[in-house]
């Protein structure tokens, strides 16, 4: 007859639990550091590099401050019981981190690497700083590339959303001969490897005369985004109750009126999700713009970024990072703002 020592058992279970949690977190931190570190480096260099060389000591000093701050914020969030406590904890730790950062790293920070935003001929300035005077590439104004990217992503988004809403609604709500076949074809197309068509598309654009025009790239991207967008929109239309539409029709609306005035407002989330998705695709697009756009007046941000890196001034890490930050931030902001809508989308996008 042995008495069970419940306390000891409970203690052992607690210890084991804690050990397991610690291992999990250690593993997650270990695999996350290789991803975060380059991004921290990018931002640090963009705001601190002075000459052609990367100033590595600034990086390590800021990492030594940033990492404990982030971990501190996270611990504060985990131990907090109420939401209020969590925010107080996070803000407190962040404030301390920022103060230390300002004291230790602050004097090294400057905005001179963002010269490309104000100086149209920044390339010569940077090249002379690096010690080379001539470069192979003539750079357009960065705002021109920025506008081109906006134009490309924006107009492509507008067309995709409009066409996909119309088609998605029709496929969801109308019966017509060949409907099943068309939906099946759409399923194949939405996974179709579009990059394989790059050679015939190049030839097509050349013969039509749209090679080296933004319009050509916009149309190509629209065509490729469309099957996926139609598919997503159909899913959102499927979820709208039939009763709404029936009552609109009973009240005397035509199908077209019912679509515009009654059903469309029900799928706002779908429209936002598809818009954000296509906009980001357009903003990030590289291969097609690289292959189809030649003259630098048509450059988008991705090409601008690529050629800044490729040019002689690529050794000036400061300017390259600054361009990188300028290019990256809109993407991340968009993802962060639209995360809620993107998560509602059935994920079957194909990338990487």
């Amino acid at each position: 007859m042995t008495a069970v020592d419940w306390d000891a058992l409970a203690r052992r279970a607690r210890v084991r639990n804690r050990a397991r949690t610690t291992t999990l977190y250690a593993f997650l931190i270990a695999v996350s550091v290789p991803i975060i570190l380059p991004y921290i480096w990018l931002v640090t260099i963009a705001f601190s590099a002075r000459t052609g060389v990367a100033e590595t000591h600034v990086l390590w000093r800021s990492v030594l401050i940033l990492v404990p701050t982030v971990i501190g914020c996270w611990v504060a969030a985990v131990v907090a019981v109420t939401r209020r406590q969590m925010w107080i904890g996070i803000l407190g730790v962040a404030a301390i981190g920022i103060a230390v950062f300002a004291i230790v790293v602050g004097p090294d920070l400057h905005l001179r690497n963002f010269i490309f935003l104000v100086e149209p001929d920044f390339a010569s300035v940077v090249r002379s700083r690096v010690g080379e005077v001539s470069g192979a590439v003539q750079f357009p104004n960065v705002w021109k590339a920025f506008l081109n990217s906006l134009l490309l992503a924006g107009s492509q988004t507008v067309i995709v959303v409009t066409v996909a809403s119309l088609a998605g609604y029709y496929l969801s709500r109308f019966q017509f001969p060949g409907r099943a076949g068309m939906l099946r074809a759409l399923l194949v197309l939405h996974a179709f490897p579009v990059l394989t068509l790059i050679v015939p598309l190049f030839l097509m654009l050349y013969y039509i005369g749209l090679l080296d025009t933004l319009l050509g790239v916009i149309l190509v991207l629209v065509g490729f985004e469309l099957p996926f967008a139609v598919f997503i929109m159909k899913g959102f239309f499927d979820a709208v109750p039939w009763d709404i539409e029936m009552s609109a029709l009973t009240d005397g609306a035509s199908r077209r009126q019912a679509f515009v005035q009654v059903v469309l407002p029900q799928v706002t989330n779908g429209i936002i999700a598809v818009s954000v998705f296509s906009f980001i695709r357009g903003w990030e697009e590289y291969i097609f713009v690289f292959t189809f756009l030649i003259s630098n007046a048509n450059w988008t941000m991705s090409l601008y970024m690529f050629f800044v890196r490729d040019d002689v001034m690529g050794v000036d890490y400061g300017v390259v990072s600054a361009v990188g930050v300028f290019y990256l931030v809109p993407s991340l902001l968009l993802y962060a703002a639209a995360q809620r809508y993107l998560m509602q989308m059935p994920i079957s996008g194909v990338k990487g």
């Binding site: 969030a77 019966q175 990059l195």
Partner: protein, 317 residues
């Protein structure tokens, strides 16, 4: 009599009107989508087939129509064997190690954490996917920079693992393209597997615990069986996307050194746009198009056809 005829006439008029409206609706709603998809999917495929039988080159003039390109693929191109072998290594390596393997690991590890921490770590792993490709690869180029100031070299030299700076771009290029693509690929698997794990009824875990199962046997007997469908979904779709995408490789190594990291899709691109052999590129691309369609057809199993094809409930147009 006349009244009847009139009625028939009106009825016929209405029917004609309805038919016209039906046609108009079809054109308004579906017309633009059909036109765009035909122009950008079907026409290019047809052009690709046509061009593959010509010797279309940089001069954009066709001088000969023959099957020479196909003969070259099957007999003449000695480099192709190496390219196909590399593609197999790249696709299976990335898929097994990262898209499925690491994605699964991340999902299993983050699922039991509290929402704040799991959200944070998942956010970190989504970072590469959210970055534009040019920028993401720029970071990689800096990480593996062969000079002592490259990020990896700084760390390794400080820790003392190596004595001289490494140059991974020339010494381990295949590993480099697998890892850089894998960091992006892992996040999709992570998201899909996480939502699948969250869909498992909690009482199964409780019951297993009561029966004395440990974490590993729970993963083995409850979680993994529930992930069978998501895993095959990821395998097929990511295999397809790895097979055809070459963006990151082109930016990172340009297919080099020499042809060491030139996968099949990139080989097409290099032949067509660097070598100016559009005809040969088109012939090579045709094989990838066929494989792509086959894999996309395999993907049909993952969709609920009955739900997809459910018929509409209003017949009015």
């Amino acid at each position: 009599m006349t009244a009847l005829a009139e009625e028939a006439l009106i009825a016929r008029g209405l029917a004609r009107k309805a038919a016209r409206r039906r046609r108009a609706n079809f054109i308004i709603f579906l017309g633009p989508a059909i036109v765009l998809m035909v122009i950008f999917f079907i026409v290019p495929v047809l052009i690709d087939i046509a061009v593959s039988f010509t010797d279309l080159g940089r001069a954009l003039r066709i001088t000969e129509v023959s099957t020479a390109n196909y003969e070259r693929i099957f007999a003449g191109d000695t480099r192709l064997t190496q390219v196909v072998a590399l593609t197999a290594i790249y696709v299976f390596g990335t898929l097994a190690l990262f898209n499925v393997g690491f994605g699964l690991l991340l999902a299993l590890v983050t699922a039991p954490l509290n929402p704040v921490s799991s959200g944070f770590f998942r956010g970190v792993w989504l970072l590469p996917r959210m970055s534009p490709s040019v920028l993401y690869i720029l970071l990689w180029l800096w990480v593996v920079d062969p000079s002592p100031t490259g990020l990896l070299n700084q760390i390794l030299l400080t820790v003392g693992v190596v004595d001289a700076p490494l140059d991974l771009k020339t010494s381990a290029p295949v590993m480099l393209i697998i890892i850089s693509n894998g960091f992006i690929g892992a996040s999709l698997g992570m998201i899909i597997f996480t939502s699948a794990i969250k869909g498992i009824p909690v009482h199964l875990f409780h019951a297993a615990r009561v029966d004395g199962a440990g974490s590993l046997s729970i993963a083995r007997h409850i979680t993994l069986p529930a992930l069978r469908w998501p895993i095959s979904f990821i395998t097929i779709y990511q295999a397809l996307s790895l097979l055809v995408s070459f963006e990151y490789i082109l930016l990172l190594t340009e297919g080099g050194p020499f042809y060491d990291t030139t996968v099949y899709a990139l080989y097409i691109y290099r032949r067509a746009f660097e070598g100016g052999q559009y005809g040969y590129g088109a012939a090579l691309a045709l094989f990838l198009i066929v494989i792509g369609i086959v894999l996309a057809l395999l993907g049909w199993r993952f969709f609920d056809m009955k739900k997809l094809l459910q018929s509409p409930r209003i017949e009015v147009h």
